[in-house]
Symmetry: C2
Subunit: 195 residues, 2 copies
């Protein structure tokens, strides 16, 4: 990695953590200069605008989170174990998120849906990938006889995602992981009821 | 209501809808002037600061949402019917929210948790009231033999809340109420499994 690429990655990492905690609208250019230790020119060298930095920082945050899922899935082949592994990775995000500030999908969806069409579109794409990941695990599980054939994979993907995202919101609001633990227990029972 | 009180209520209503869509950090004083049609002085007449307006507008939004729940609960005495009535009211928020922008509890929790301690505290209080409302319905239902005595009311309150809040996030992200409908079906089955 060249020095320029190294600087660019460092800006993305630091901006992603700033945006994930304060929001895009809540992060001023001087906040970005403060967390990166760079002058405005040093940032504009790599990103033509704050909006472009926002989009790329969101992609960076999602890639960072995805890496954790892929690594947890690597050793698991059974569909039920794969779903539980994903739920287990997610459940750590309340206390110990890969990107400070919790789940970038939740945070950016809430901020962008009525306010920022470009960022909303990017968040829809990231949500598509996430829902597809879960749906494919379920469909493969059905094909292999590991999950009941009458399960609707789209419905199950919605329920798993909604429960986890809502639970991280409540746990982060209180600074108390009990809500996330309850969500994990509920989802594990829910999945087991469809074997 | 005096003319001054009337103006104050109108500012709260319009600011609550603005904040619920654009966030507190994403709403500038000129946005607030635009939606209210008032000069800065006219707003500061009623609210000493944007932060104080934010706190009072949040309370206004929560009171507005609560009115819908109380009205849906009025005619129901059975605990299961009461839970389903609350879930039914919430499920309309994706398409037809009482305050434009979706659920103020979700939106303000996500924005404030790492960024705005005073607003976060207010959101914790509103979440306490909401979780207590659900928990009391469940506890009364257990006492009256309408809900299985082994149900943990705190756990059920978390699961209902997390699932609904996560589902409104996904449905609003896509502008598609299917995710909310799936959450409602899931929760109704979940509740019925504990009769
Ligand atoms: Mg929003
Ligand atoms: Mg936050």
């Amino acid at each position: 990695m060249s020095k320029g690429e190294h600087t660019k990655t460092r800006i993305l990492q630091q901006a992603a953590e700033l945006f994930n905690q304060q929001g895009y609208a809540g992060s001023s250019m001087s906040d970005i200069m403060r967390v990166t230790g760079l002058q405005k020119g040093g940032i504009y060298n790599h990103f033509p605008s704050k909006d472009e930095l926002a989009l790329q920082a969101f992609d960076f945050a999602i890639a960072c989170v995805s890496k954790h899922y892929r690594s947890a899935l690597r050793s698991k082949s059974n569909a039920v174990e794969r779903l539980k592994a994903i739920i287990g990775v997610f459940s750590n995000f309340a206390d110990n998120p890969p990107i400070q500030g919790g789940c970038p999908l939740l945070n950016t969806a809430v901020e962008s849906d009525d306010a920022h069409p470009a960022l909303r579109k990017r968040t829809q794409q990231a949500m598509n990938s996430w829902l597809n990941l879960i749906r494919r695990i379920i469909e493969t599980g059905i094909a292999k006889g590991e999950i009941h054939p009458e399960v609707n994979a789209d419905e199950m993907a919605t329920i798993i995602t909604a429960t986890l995202e809502g639970a991280i919101m409540i746990s982060k609001l209180y600074g108390d992981s009990i809500h996330m633990q309850r969500a994990v227990n509920h989802l594990n029972q829910y999945i087991e009821s469809y074997l």
